[in-house]
């Protein structure tokens, strides 16, 4: 009897503690600067591709500015954009810029009434085509072949299309297992965009966060899941952030007859060869990616920091300005390259982003 009572009491206490634990997990509401005292808070939400880089940037920025707290929630690009529109985030990280119809003065709760948003490219990462085929270390594909493989039209490694671009490689007579991301991701969006832009006849589906179900293939969860499935499998191929490829073979992509590896230089060149979307403000660096230029590795993920042209709260504007200035600086880009394996912005682009940030109020 006694023991039972004690057990019941313990159970009740444990339950109560469990509920209390839940409550303490909730993140504090996203707000701007806190008026009280000198401590200031900056909240960003968005792209999980930027996660590793943002963590590094936040740590470095907070070391230099001890009174500032920066929170970056890697909830995904879509969540970041909607949080920015609602004013819940002071800046957004997004794997695509806002579209024309999403832009406009007064559409963003955190910005001044006459202010629109600025899309600033801050994170460039090449997407590698990774493979694991017995006895094969180097492969070269044209984009038609890659599109054919991932859409399930090319099913054997010794297919004529693959053999044509790899005359020196002995290809096995084995089925190809093409691994894609099972979860929604900006990597998939940029990879499918690449295939759609470079091989529209083979890759008939438009770019999307979700890999098109019609094309089939093997699905794995997250970048690490894809890399692990390709590594653990046999005669597999997949796509992932180049920095995550590990020891796996990374295929070269033929661009105008020249094979290109997913290097930082070949990736960051994409923005120098692309134009900003027509009809935007001079300081809005929203690019329409040109994936077929000479010397440019086509499968590149470009992620943006989205900020207000003019903030409602001027102090907040200064804070965002300081933070994004650091991110786009040579220091910040180098830090991200070390921490996340991204490709640093070219110095010409760094200067452009700097000019754009300087106009933020």
């Amino acid at each position: 009897m006694r023991i039972k009572t004690i057990a019941t009491a313990a159970l009740v206490t444990a339950t109560a503690l469990a509920f209390a634990g839940c409550a303490s997990n909730e993140t504090p509401a996203a707000g701007g600067t806190t008026a009280a005292g000198a401590s200031k808070t900056l909240t960003g939400t968005g792209s999980s591709a930027q996660k590793a880089a943002q963590e590094k940037w936040v740590a470095a920025f907070q070391t230099k500015n001890s009174s500032v707290t920066v929170n970056y929630n890697p909830d995904g690009s879509g969540a970041g954009r909607s949080a920015f529109i609602a004013g819940a985030a002071n800046f957004a990280g997004s794997d695509r810029p806002f579209k024309d119809e999403e832009m406009g003065a007064g559409k963003f709760a955190g910005c001044a009434a006459d202010s629109s948003a600025l899309n600033l490219p801050v994170y460039i990462s090449p997407i590698a085509v990774i493979f694991n085929v017995d006895g094969v270390t180097d492969l070269t594909f044209d984009t038609d072949t890659i599109a054919g493989i991932f859409s399930g039209k090319i099913t054997k490694w010794n297919d004529a299309a693959i053999a044509k671009t790899n005359p020196k490689v002995t290809l096995p007579d084995a089925a190809i297992t093409a691994v894609h991301r099972g979860d929604d991701s900006g990597t998939t969006n940029n990879f499918t965009d690449t295939l759609n832009k470079t091989s529209p006849t083979v890759w008939t589906q438009a770019a999307a966060d979700t890999f098109p179900a019609a094309f089939g293939g093997e699905a794995a969860n997250g970048t690490s899941g894809v890399v692990q499935a390709v590594t653990g499998g046999k005669n597999t191929i997949g796509y992932a952030d180049a920095s995550a490829a590990g020891k796996l073979g990374k295929a070269s992509i033929l661009v105008n007859g020249k094979p290109l590896q997913p290097t930082a230089d070949a990736a960051s060149a994409i923005l120098d060869n692309s134009k900003t979307i027509a009809g935007r403000a001079a300081n809005d660096l929203a690019y329409s990616l040109e994936r077929t230029s000479e010397g440019v590795y086509p499968a590149v993920l470009v992620s943006y920091a989205i900020v207000c042209q003019t903030y409602k709260d001027a102090a907040l504007g200064t804070l965002v300005k300081d933070y994004v200035t650091y991110i786009a600086s040579a220091d910040g880009q180098q830090a991200a390259a070390t921490a996340a394996g991204s490709a640093p912005l070219s110095s010409a682009l760094q200067a452009k982003v700097k000019t754009a940030i300087d106009s933020v109020k």
């Binding site: 019941t8 995904g76 879509g78 979700t210 794995a220 969860n221 499935a229 653990g232």
Partner: protein, 327 residues
């Protein structure tokens, strides 16, 4: 013990005298405990109702949304979208049970009727320990060890038994198929089914067993005649408990299964029907707006599937109990 407890009670009970209407202190513990027990019973109902309400409220924007809006802002029209996942959930769980139940009943029978006592107890502990392994560990094991190891077997099955529809199709190069997921799930539900079956088998009436043996039955015939008929409702209940676990398992499936949105009975290909739980877990981190609602609505569908399965189980158990001869 009882004396110590009752003596102060009776002496104090005598003090107020008759007619004062004071409650009998002997009963106080009884009433308190009854309150606790009833509170706990109500609490579980309240929690269940709250979870259902949460799923309904948060999922309703997707449930009642215009299909065109779901196509542009969500994952697509709700029913066609969720149906393959619902199929995958049930299909994976059934496969897991097909693999797990014979083994579990075998182990339970071995522990209760065949093994020497010295072996039975440690074996029981080990099986129970299996239940304590976190699902993420099973997931890691499944994707890193089991899937690559099982791939040659799948290739053999496909080459030699490919004429059976279950084994047809192109074999996955990674081994991350629904068959692998089912093996992992089977491993996870095994301890639940085993320990419950073991308890039921141990309660089979000794007299029946001895009577069967005395009539010249072999040990297997005795089990067939005396143990199984008695234990059948218990076995069914154990299986249904395992089914519930298999239906809701998330982490292991997410890590092991190469899941897509299709309905197929092929076991060895790359394109397996994904489960609802794994789909929600995979897509929730990047979901927002209507997509979040749609995933929560999928959770509601899973909730309903589990509820229906459990109700069917209850019904079977209650129906069988009447004429099983258990009493």
């Amino acid at each position: 013990m009882t004396q110590k407890l009752t003596r102060p009670g009776t002496s104090r009970g005598a003090e107020p005298g008759p007619g004062t209407g004071a409650p009998d202190p002997k009963r106080r513990g009884d009433r308190v405990f009854r309150g606790f027990a009833m509170g706990a019973g109500i609490l579980i109902l309240v929690i269940l109702a709250l979870v259902a309400a949460f799923l309904l409220i948060q999922g309703s924007p997707a449930l009642f949304a215009d299909p065109a809006k779901l196509i542009s802002q969500g994952y697509g029209e709700f029913l066609p979208w969720v149906l393959p996942y619902a199929f995958g959930t049930v299909w994976a769980a059934i496969l897991a049970l097909v693999l797990a139940v014979p083994v579990a009943v075998g182990i339970a029978l071995f522990i209760s009727h065949y093994s020497p006592r010295r072996l039975a107890q440690p074996l029981g502990y080990v099986i129970d320990l299996l239940a304590a392994v976190p699902s993420v560990v099973f997931g890691l094991w499944g994707s890193l060890v089991l899937a690559p190891a099982a791939r040659p077997l799948y290739e053999w099955l496909s080459a030699n038994l490919g004429f059976i529809p279950l084994f047809s199709g192109t074999v996955s190069g990674t081994g991350r198929t629904i068959f692998t997921a089912a093996i992992v799930l089977a491993t996870m539900v095994l301890p639940i089914i085993t320990s419950m079956c073991r308890e039921v088998f141990l309660q089979a009436p000794r007299l029946h067993e001895e009577a069967a043996l005395a009539l010249g039955a072999t040990r297997w015939e005795m089990v067939k005649m005396a143990v199984f008929p008695f234990a059948r409702p218990g076995i069914i209940a154990a299986v249904m408990l395992g089914l519930g676990r298999a239906l809701g398992e998330t982490m292991a499936v997410t890590m092991v299964l190469s899941g897509t949105r299709n309905i197929t009975f092929e076991l060895l290909t790359s394109e397996n029907p994904n489960t609802i739980a794994a789909t929600v877990a995979q897509n929730f981190p990047e979901a927002f707006g209507l997509k979040t609602s749609q995933l929560i609505a999928a959770g509601l569908v899973l909730f309903l599937i589990t509820l229906v399965v459990n109700m069917i189980a209850r019904w079977i158990v209650s129906r069988r109990a009447e004429f099983s001869g258990a009493n």
